[in-house]
């Protein structure tokens, strides 16, 4: 009783694990991977630009509590008051 059950469990698990190999063969033609790569490249470029932009942060003074905050912030990091107004 237990041996067949074990084989059954193992089989189900193996099929589930191996499934992506069969699926990907059909899918690789669609060019998804190329698209993914392209997207990743763009994300990287955007990130790079952002971190460069972050270098020249100008301080901004919170109108309600007087704390110094980043100009990037929308709200004061100290008191939570809105910085946009």
């Amino acid at each position: 009783m237990t041996v067949p059950l074990g084989i059954l469990l193992g089989l189900i698990a193996a099929i589930f694990i191996a499934y992506p190999f069969f699926r990907s063969r059909a899918k690789s033609v669609s060019g998804d991977e190329a698209l993914d790569e392209e997207l990743e490249k763009r994300i990287r470029a955007l990130r790079k630009g952002r971190s460069e932009a972050a270098e020249d942060v100008v301080d901004k003074v919170c109108p309600s509590c007087g704390a110094r905050c980043d100009s990037r912030d929308k709200f004061c990091s100290e008191c939570g008051a809105s910085l946009s107004t």
């Binding site: 074990g6 469990l9 190999f21 990907s24 008191c79 939570g80 008051a81």
Partner: protein, 656 residues
């Protein structure tokens, strides 16, 4: 059912090994098929593991004495609720349980992050699968948890009565949840390091996991303290036992890591430091089973050692060497860091906090292993008393609490001396005034210190809240209460942290009150006699004998009066357990905000006609605030943890 569990566990081990290899290959080669297959492998591990756990629990519930583990920890009369307690009363059982939680977490991570962190996640899955395979090897190859008895006995040995308590039902799972959570964080961070994505990215993805692990571990430690207070009958909650320290140290390190995460999110500063902290945290998480399984002798727990310590030690060494080498190999990738403009800034304060946490852990671990080192060097066997820990860690902890007030006062980058001056005037100054008042009034010198140490950070938080609420209300109008809630909602990691700080302040109060101002009295009384402890008079009214199937209970009734007025009755018990052939006291605690009255029936003869009984009575001031503080800890953790719909998409993708 038992066989199914055993087979599932073995298959689970195979699947974990496969997942580790496939995921590593997938991450390296960039093969989508391999990473997808590995992800499925991890899900299979979680499902099969759950199946094995279900089989194990079923065996405990149905009292299947053909299993060794059930025979040793359960008995026919054990309530079904304590099936869990019985499972982790066993050394291998506790590893099984811990591994199960880790498998569930790993599956959640695989599903949650699979699409958002394309390169990091496969690598993290691989690391987690290695850890899981290690755990599974411990419970299948090193020790077989499903080992069967050649001749099933009629009844088992039963579960230690001390473990039959709600506290013990939830204390170990909480610790293991926290440990497993930190393991996930570790895997994710190491993965980010391996695939050379050490920037800000992983922070957004892992902050909430860290918070969860930290919060659960903290609550777990507190529940353990509560259990020790209620159940062990000695009236204290912390003995600096190696096993207790094993749970405390990862939490302290996790706290330091959480603070450095806050720093990394706000400023590109000290990457290596943050990474090193999570590595150290992971190592101390592994150290915990090393200690509890008898790697380091502990006076109170872990009397029956298991054969795991060499394996765990091996894992610790491998982790240490591997991650240090990795960190060194990658340390140039971090790029330019923001320099703090001045040491008098929040970065500076956070860094100091971090260092102090490390010092604290260093002091504790010194106390744990120093006696072993001295012994190993051929010196005489020494033990360190609680005094060592009290007098070395106590001052450091008090300083940390006090320093919480400084941290939130300082601004990022550079704090202006003028604003510090104004802040101190509103926060430190009142705390000093109150401390002096307490000192003069003669309530107690330690209470004066408590007022200073706790008052300063408390006033700081209140001031920040007041200013913030006022600013919010000015901007948006409405009620103050609404403005306050909106304020908390606007920056929940920060204000959740404040709530946690209040919890810590309350716990500090409880510790100071109960450590320095406790009273104790012990007397043997006959029916009708009285004893006095502090302001309380206790009169012994009656003794009831109750016979149950597993124990005989002697229940004493005492009426408590204060200033001649009857205020309450308490009923401490003294239980004689048949299966253990020994008595255990069940204490009665009368809790008020000012102090606990702790009454323990520590001896009675159980002989008919002799109703004299020995009572041990403690007055523990302020102790209830420790448990209230625990509530704040949980609340603050939840506030910071709760998913933020507006910002989540952004921060999860690492754009914040």
């Amino acid at each position: 059912m038992v066989d199914t569990g055993h087979i599932a566990l073995i298959l689970c081990f195979i699947a974990a090994v496969y997942t580790a290899l496939a995921s590593a290959w997938g991450a390296r080669s960039g093969s989508h098929a391999f990473t997808a297959s590995a992800r499925n492998g991890l899900l299979v591990v979680a499902v099969l593991y759950t199946l094995a756990m279900a089989a194990m629990l079923y065996a405990f519930m149905s009292k299947d004495f053909s299993l060794r583990i059930v025979t040793e920890h359960a008995s026919r009369d054990l309530p079904a609720v304590y099936a869990f307690s019985a499972l982790y009363a066993d050394k291998a059982g506790s590893v099984l349980f811990w591994g199960w939680l880790l498998s569930l977490f790993a599956a959640v991570l695989a599903l949650q992050k699979y699409n958002s962190y394309k390169q990091i996640t496969p690598c993290a899955i691989s690391i987690l699968a290695v850890i899981l395979a290690f755990f599974l090897a411990l419970v299948t190859i090193v020790v077989n948890v499903f080992e069967e008895n050649p001749y099933p006995p009629v009844d088992g040995f039963g579960l230690n009565p001390l473990l039959q308590n709600v506290g013990m039902l939830i204390h170990p799972p909480l610790l293991y949840l926290g440990f497993a959570g930190f393991m996930v964080v570790f895997a994710f961070v190491m993965a980010a390091l391996i695939v050379r994505r050490p920037g800000m990215e992983w922070i957004g993805g892992i902050r909430r996991w860290t918070l969860f692990a930290w919060c659960v571990l903290g609550i777990g430690n507190l529940v353990g303290m509560w259990w020790s207070y209620i159940e062990l009958g000695w009236g204290g909650y912390w003995a600096w036992d190696p096993v207790e320290n094993a749970g405390l140290m990862p939490w302290l390190l996790g706290t330091a890591f959480l603070h450095s995460v806050a720093m990394l999110r706000k400023r590109h500063y000290l990457h290596t430091w943050g990474l090193a902290l999570i590595i150290v945290t992971f190592i101390f998480v592994l150290l915990s089973p090393f200690i509890t399984h008898g790697g380091i002798e502990s006076p109170l727990h872990g009397f029956y050692a298991s054969n795991y310590p060499p394996y765990i030690l091996g894992a610790i060494v491998v982790t240490l060497v591997g991650s240090v080498v990795l960190l060194y190999a990658r340390h140039r990738d971090f790029g330019k860091e923001d320099k703090p403009l001045s040491p008098i800034s929040r970065e500076g304060a956070f860094l100091l906090t971090n260092v102090i946490f490390l010092v604290l852990v260093f002091l504790i671990i010194t106390g744990v292993i120093l006696p072993r080192i001295v012994e190993g060097l051929g010196g005489s066997e020494i033990a360190l008393e609680r005094d060592y820990f009290d007098w070395s860690c106590g001052p450091v902890m008090l300083f940390l609490v006090f320093f919480m007030g400084v941290c939130s006062t300082l601004r990022w980058r550079k704090a202006s001396l003028k604003s510090i001056g104004w802040n101190l005037l509103y926060t430190l100054f009142p705390a000093v005034i109150i401390a002096i008042a307490v000192l003069i009034s003669g309530i107690g010198n330690w209470y004066a210190l408590a007022a200073l140490v706790c008052g300063f950070p408390l006033f700081t938080i209140m001031r920040e809240w007041l200013l913030g609420t006022r600013a919010r209300r000015r901007a948006t109008g409405g009620y103050y209460a609404g403005a306050f809630l909106r304020l908390i909602g606007s920056n929940r990691p920060r204000y959740g942290g404040f709530i946690v700080h209040i919890g810590i302040i309350l716990i500090t109060l409880g510790v100071i009150g109960s450590s320095f101002y406790g009273l104790e009295g012990m007397e043997t009384l006959d029916i009708g006699e009285e004893m006095t402890v502090g302001k309380y008079e206790l009169s012994y009214d009656a003794l009831d004998m109750r016979e149950g199937s597993s124990k005989v209970s002697a229940v004493a009734s005492l009426s408590i009066s204060r200033d001649g007025k009857l205020i309450d009755t308490v009923r401490p018990e003294y239980n004689y357990w048949f299966s253990w052939m020994e008595p255990f006291a069940e204490v009665a605690v009368r809790t008020t905000p000012a102090e606990d009255l702790f009454v323990s029936l520590s001896w009675t003869s159980f002989e008919p006609g002799d109703e004299s009984a020995t009572f041990r009575v403690l007055v523990n001031p302020l102790i209830v605030w420790m448990w209230v503080g625990g509530g704040f800890l949980l609340l603050g953790g939840l506030v910071a943890f709760w998913p933020d719909r507006k910002r989540q998409s952004g921060s999860e993708a690492g754009v914040t």
